[in-house]
């Protein structure tokens, strides 16, 4: 479990970083290293060069830009989890981050790194999906904004180009929305069997907009449109929650792996959806 030889560079700016990545197609950006380094130790990833973007000051900023919370890609998960600004503007994020690994992992892991890694069970991907968050991706020649649905392609695959890095992540501030998050795991701190991030906006007592994202149930984190539909234009009640949970479970076809069979992941999604929605009940 030792990596093959590789070079290590720590550029001073993001522009320098993407130039280095563009110059060598086998180079990879290194942020918190919580996924890439184990993959290198297993020789599943064999980058020629690690371009360390984890300490670029311009990538670790955290500020409010109008009705968007902007979090630098290299901001550490633990810093975001404990930020008063984040708690105030985007309370789903700290609620979700508490479930990401253990705090030692979150002390290293970054926001952009988790989104770029695109683990199908990543809590941060679920939050981004439920909030319709966007990432800003920079290459040596261009900068573009990609929404979460367009970013996540397949297990551990995104639509980012090899010479692109995420520089910032943009989270809509929804002061009137309620949020919920629940996941079912075999062991605390572990990747969940399934989980649901939910963002619901109300018009009076009725649900005006519902965005639910499921994790652990498909090749990528994905929205649960059937469940969202069930909730619309009615009060959030025990009945509507049960129907939404059933709709969520019925809408997925989870893969089988060593941790659980598909039916168990479906049951976990049903339970997680129910619990996430229960957290925002009025009555």
């Amino acid at each position: 479990m030792k990596p093959p030889p590789f070079d290590y560079v720590r550029p001073g700016t993001a522009a320098e970083a993407v130039a280095l990545l563009a110059a060598d197609e086998d180079a990879r950006p290194l942020a918190g290293g919580q996924s890439l380094l184990p993959m290198m130790n297993f020789r599943l990833a064999r980058p020629s060069t690690l371009v360390d973007i984890g300490r670029l000051p311009e990538l670790t900023e955290l500020h409010r830009d109008g009705d968007v919370l902007v979090i630098g890609a290299a901001a550490r998960q633990r810093a975001v989890e404990t930020s008063p600004l984040v708690a105030q503007t985007c309370p789903l994020l700290p609620a979700v981050l508490r479930h990401v690994g253990h705090h030692q992992i979150r002390a290293r892991g970054t926001i952009g790194g988790s989104l770029a890694h695109a683990d199908p069970a990543a809590e941060l991907c679920a939050a981004a999906s439920a909030l319709d968050a966007e990432v800003v991706a920079a290459s040596p020649t261009a900068q573009r904004t990609v929404d979460t649905a367009a970013l996540l392609l397949a297990p551990y695959q995104t639509t980012l180009h090899p010479d692109e890095i995420i520089t910032e992540t943009r989270w809509p501030i929804l002061p009137r929305a309620r949020h919920g998050f629940a996941e079912i795991s075999h062991r605390s701190g572990d990747f969940a069997l399934a989980g649901t991030a939910a963002v619901v906006e109300f018009d009076g007592a009725e649900v005006a907009r519902a965005r639910l994202a499921g994790l652990g149930i498909a090749g990528t984190v994905r929205r649960l449109p059937d469940a969202e539909q069930v909730l619309l234009n009615r009060a959030l009640t025990a009945e509507s929650i049960t129907e939404a949970a059933e709709a969520a479970a019925a809408s997925v076809d989870p893969p089988e792996d060593v941790h659980a069979d598909p039916a168990t992941r479906r049951a976990a999604l049903r339970a997680a959806t129910r619990r996430a929605l229960e957290q925002m009940r009025h009555d």
Binding site: F42, H186, R187, V258, A267, A271
Partner: protein, 788 residues
């Protein structure tokens, strides 16, 4: 041999902080990976990535050219002997440290690369090309026994490494007359997963081999190295550094432990190999993987007249010493529990498959056997409409039953079987009530129990064909009155230094601070078999008691001479020999030691200089081989306990949480409540892992759990608060009255937790939980089955 050497308070039973903790907890331990020698090079192994194949050749040409590589060897390059097979009663497994003609599991070492560092060695290992002719895979024990199964060892004619028939006329008679209740109870494959993996460092200098290895049994390693390498034992020194957990897994002797020393001899350079976690999960022994078919002949009142059944263990490839059938034999002995069951006839099958070899793991058959009998007793209760706790009360041994010989031949001289059971039930019911009060409506809570007896300080002859059960202590005074004690047992984090220091200090009436404990080095320790079978305190204690007796006698003679008193008038109090009735007239151990070691002209006539004693203790009354009737009293003593588990089951997802746990335990006299409780906490934690989380599944011979991502160990957050109570007092049959505590925690959890889950799910109609681990997938399936 208790604290009767004077009036001072005894050290036995005091909550003494562990003497090793300052070092170990502050990161100052010296583990195998901390051993660094000048000029040392590192080894990496090329392991089979297929489960079953003929080895046609290994091409290391490219690997030898790789930067920093010193050497590459394959099986055919080795000039050493096969690992000796000393058990005439099982099929012979001829295995070598590197596969020669066949690989039988994914992870089997095929070649070794030695390079300047581990990185370079792994770079080169990737370049080794093995030419393997694939053979059909034997995936499970059941597949292995089918008529057309491929054979791992074609010369055997089948895949049975061990097959023992249980028989008994009384058993057959009981089954003819009585009602039968049966079940099959399966404990799936998991592993010990100590915090520290394995590792070996070896150096060959001046015609002498020194081997540092993370083992529980340095002398056994030395003997096996001698046999495989062809060196006399005196030319081998085995040193055990600090060991970060052994759990029986490090009582096995592994291919790497022979090969790294061979490399050091061949290359004339120190060589180091440190196992990584991926290697650990495929190449360190697995455990359990045992299915027990068990039937009871049941009287009208539910009590069991006889047991009949078969223990079948999937041994993997069997290429390990000692082979993994030892736990199957112990499981047989544990099936009758602490119950008055007059007869049993249990057969044993050890089956080879294309998986990693199984070996010892804490509990060693006890968890598997206890799971089977406790589940079966619950089933009897259910089928006959008898409260399973009442049913146990009808069968469990009471004080007036002792001494008692179990149906398996174990002679129980002492114990608190009934008392421990009743107390645990009291605690369990109380914990359940408290949890129910705190839980919301609809929470599925349940309580379950497991009661058992556990043989400790067993013989190892029946699984090694070589060693029995003795151990030694060497107690030496220095001239300043301090003592160095060397013992044959071994430390792997369990507090052995503290226990030994306590016993020596107690026996010589000196402060613990004056005792230095030495172990784990074959050059300095007296011969001993190491630490396993919960034996250390009992066997080391026996040897220490004998050595101390010699020293006290000699000390008394010397002191009497110095005091011009009669030895009969002296008493040893707080490190001083004093004349009874005139405490002012006394000499200390250090004065006695100075006479013995320095001022030898002060010695009484006929007393030799020197103040040291070496003693060996062999537990009496053991059977080292089965008696003619097949029964066996294989252990020096037997502990007993009852565990109570309270669980909460999420019926929507199948996730189980153990919310409370209690252990009522009797290990005879408790030397130190802190270390005993610590052992039980750790054992219960591992037991929860095996009952709920851990498993090593295979698909087509490929292991699916090869990292800690797939192998789910419980974390601290999965471990509930625990109540640990110790019953009983000094056992009459052992030195210092001690039994053993190392494995007590792990035996109960599978049965107790399964019982608790079944209790929690009783309203849904879930019955017959007969397999662990109880993962969410398994439980959700059971719940759904019951609902439909």
């Amino acid at each position: 041999m208790q604290a009767r050497y004077g009036a001072r308070p005894t050290l036995l039973g005091a909550r003494t902080p562990r003497v090793e903790d300052d070092r170990l907890l502050a990161g100052r331990g010296r583990y195998i990976a901390d051993v660094a020698l000048p000029g040392m090079v590192e080894a990496a192994f090329v392991r089979s990535d297929v489960p079953h194949a003929r080895v046609r050749g290994v091409d290391a040409t490219a690997a030898r050219e790789s930067p920093g590589v010193r050497a590459v060897f394959a099986g055919s390059d080795l000039d050493l002997r096969a690992v000796p097979d000393r058990m005439p009663w099982v099929r012979p497994v001829q295995h070598f440290p590197l596969a020669r003609d066949r690989v039988r599991y994914v992870g089997c070492p095929l070649a070794v690369v030695v390079a300047d560092d581990r990185y370079l060695a792994e770079d080169a290992a990737e370049l080794v090309e093995a030419d393997l002719e694939l053979l059909p895979t034997v995936g499970t024990a059941e597949d292995a026994l089918s008529a057309d199964a491929p054979l791992l060892y074609p010369e055997w004619g089948d895949n049975l490494l061990l097959s023992v028939e249980g028989d008994g006329g009384e058993v057959e008679a009981a089954f003819e007359q009585l009602r039968t209740v049966s079940g099959t109870f399966t404990t799936r494959r998991h592993t010990a997963a100590p915090l520290e993996g394995r590792g070996v460092v070896a150096e060959f200098r001046d015609d002498r081999l020194t081997v540092w290895t993370s083992t529980q049994a340095a002398f056994v390693v030395r003997a096996m190295l001698s046999a495989v390498l062809g060196l006399p034992e005196r030319d081998i020194r085995v040193i055990t550094p600090d060991v970060g957990g052994g759990f029986g897994q490090k009582n096995e002797i592994y291919p790497e432990e022979y090969l790294v020393p061979w490399l050091a001899m061949r290359l004339r350079r120190p060589v180091r190999w440190i196992e990584d976690r991926h290697e650990h999960l495929i190449a360190a022994t697995h455990a359990r993987d045992t299915s027990i078919e068990l039937s009871a002949a049941v009287r009208d009142d539910g009590t069991i007249a006889a047991l009949r059944g078969r223990v079948r263990t999937d041994l993997g490839s069997g290429e390990i010493f000692p082979a993994g059938y030892g736990p199957s034999l112990v499981a047989v002995g544990s099936l009758c529990g602490p119950y008055r069951i007059p007869h049993q006839a249990i057969s044993v099958q050890g089956v080879v498959t294309n998986k990693t070899p199984t070996g010892g793991y804490r509990g060693f058959g006890g968890p598997e056997g206890t799971f089977a009998i406790e589940r079966l007793v619950d089933k009897i209760g259910r089928e006959l409409g008898i409260d399973p706790l009442d049913l146990r009360r009808r069968m469990i041994l009471a004080p007036h039953d002792l001494p008692y010989e179990t149906a398996a031949g174990a002679r129980l001289e002492s114990g608190t079987h009934r008392e421990a059971f009743e107390r645990a039930v009291q605690l369990g019911e109380r914990m359940l009530t408290e949890e129910r009060e705190n839980a919301g409506p609809g929470a599925a809570l349940g309580v379950g129990y497991a009661t058992y007896v556990e043989g400790v300080a067993s013989t190892t002859f029946s699984i090694t064909g070589t060693w029995s059960s003795q151990d030694s202590a060497d107690v030496r005074f220095d001239a300043d009155g301090g003592v160095t004690v060397a013992v044959g047992i071994s430390a792997m984090g369990q507090g052995a230094h503290t226990t030994v220091a306590t016993l020596v200090a107690e026996a010589l009436a000196i402060p613990m601070e004056q005792v230095r404990v030495v172990m784990g080095d074959t050059d300095t320790a007296p011969f001993g078999l190491g630490s396993w079978a919960s034996r250390s305190t009992l066997v080391a204690g026996g040897a220490i008691a004998r050595a101390a007796e010699v020293l006290r006698r000699k000390g008394t003679d010397i002191a009497a001479h110095l005091l011009e008193a009669s030895p009969d008038d002296l008493e040893l109090v707080e490190g001083r020999f004093r004349v009874r009735g005139s405490p002012g007239s006394a000499v200390s151990w250090s004065q006695v030691a100075q006479s013995a070691l320095n001022r030898t002209f002060e010695l009484p006539p006929g007393v030799e200089p020197g103040l040291e004693a070496r003693a060996t203790y062999e537990p009496p009354g053991l059977d080292h081989v089965p008696r003619p009737d097949g029964k066996m009293n294989a252990a020096a003593s037997y502990t007993n306990a009852t565990h109570a588990a309270v669980v909460r089951v999420d019926t929507a997802t199948g996730v189980v949480e153990v919310v409370r746990y209690a252990v009522v335990h009797d290990c005879g006299r408790v030397i130190n409540p802190l270390t005993v409780t610590g052992q039980i906490h750790g054992g219960v934690a591992q037991g929860i892992g095996g009952a709920l989380h851990e498993q090593l599944p295979y698909e087509d011979g490929q292991p699916l759990a090869t990292t800690f991502t797939e192998y789910v160990l419980p974390s601290a957050r999965e471990i509930p608060p625990m109540i640990v109570e110790e019953l009983g007092g000094p056992a009459p049959e052992t030195p210092f009255g001690v039994k053993g505590a190392g494995e007590a925690g792990i035996i109960g959890p599978p049965a107790a937790i399964a019982g608790a889950v079944e209790d929690a799910l009783a309203p849904l109609g879930v019955t017959g939980i007969d397999t662990t681990p109880l993962t969410p997938s398994v439980l959700r399936g059971l719940i759904e089955e019951a609902r439909s």
